[in-house]
Symmetry: C2
Subunit: 180 residues, 2 copies
DNA sequence: CTCTGACATGTCAACATTTACATGTCAGCG
DNA sequence: CGCTGACATGTAAATGTTGACATGTCAGAG
């Protein structure tokens, strides 16, 4: 279960409220890496606080509470990141699953889906390139997102899927030509 | 919830027993796309059979039952694949999460992790290239795996992560040099 | 013939996650 | 001042997933 580590990681970047953490999962983090809604975040923050890995450092308006990682939390996070993932690291990605199952469609349907993928990935990649061009330092996370490291990862991801989809279209079309 | 669709997809490729389906999730499918253990597969096959999307076509030795998709199941699968995923498609990937959190480590630790990633991705990519070289037709799924489409996807994925990790190492090292 | 390991299916309790419900604050607009 | 929408936190039931336990078959090695 990686949610506690995701929260520790976010809080290690910057102390935040549960609400802000929930917002973070709506961005790149939730898009590529790990999803969570506020209904799992709030209870989990409570558990982490009980274990002494995070603490409330500030109470603001509208009942907001700002959490920060404790030194123990930082240790836990560092240990987790430095321990190589078991080969059974959890993976669940609906989009990728769809790509895997594409070959069960007949070629016309598959081509349609692949074309949509090329359009989508091209648009997302363009957006990330745009963001990159007006960005700050590379390792320090910017105010709005989760650092250039993550943005660059997403960009390369989209480029790879884009080129894969183009390749797949070519394969399908050349097979169709050969069969005719 | 994508498990039923994953099962329909696998059965659309080739009728299989629950045991064989569980094996399939241990390969590329479970590595990149979707995980499931036999404890979720058997009950889900039961539900799909109740809904008339799959049926038992053969009973073999040791109580094995071979399932196949029905025409209704094929319809359901096709409809799902052709419906564009909601923007909230489920994503959960522990390895990617680790990469996102990398920037909270101090540079020496981060470099260590990145180096391990480059080694790991290089090895996996080499393995996939090896498999590709002794492979059959591109779209039809081979006996052992889930088609060349998926293998090619995995290969490009590893190459992208590999090149990202090299880039990230360079960034960290140049920052370290600038800071000294 | 016995042992081992792969084949094959299943249940159930514990745990994690999602969906729906529920409540209240505060800033800005008209 | 009332409305709206973002801010902010929570609970509870339903659902989904994992891990531990349980059972039994069959082929091949020794």
């Amino acid at each position: 279960m990686s949610l506690p580590h995701a929260l520790l990681g976010l809080l290690a970047v910057r102390p935040s409220s549960g609400y802000e953490l929930a917002k973070a999962f709506e961005g790149d983090l939730g898009r590529y890496a790990w999803q969570a809604g506020h209904t799992s975040i709030y209870p989990e923050l409570g558990k982490l606080a009980e274990r002494g890995l995070v603490e409330v450092t500030h109470e603001g308006p509208r009942g907001s509470r700002t959490y920060a990682v404790t030194p123990e939390g930082r240790d836990e996070l560092r240990t987790w990141l430095l321990t190589p993932p078991r080969q059974a690291a959890k993976v669940r990605n609906e989009r990728v699953l769809r790509m895997f199952l594409l070959s069960v469609l007949d070629p016309a349907d598959a081509l349609e889906v692949l074309r949509r993928i090329t359009e989508h990935t091209a648009a997302e990649a363009a957006e990330l390139r745009r963001i990159r061009s007006d960005a700050g330092p590379v390792v320090a996370p910017g105010a709005e997102g989760f650092g250039q490291l993550a943005a660059e990862y997403g960009l390369r991801q989209y480029e790879a899927v884009h080129s894969w989809a183009l390749w797949a279209i070519e394969q399908l079309e050349s097979r169709a030509a050969a069969a005719s």
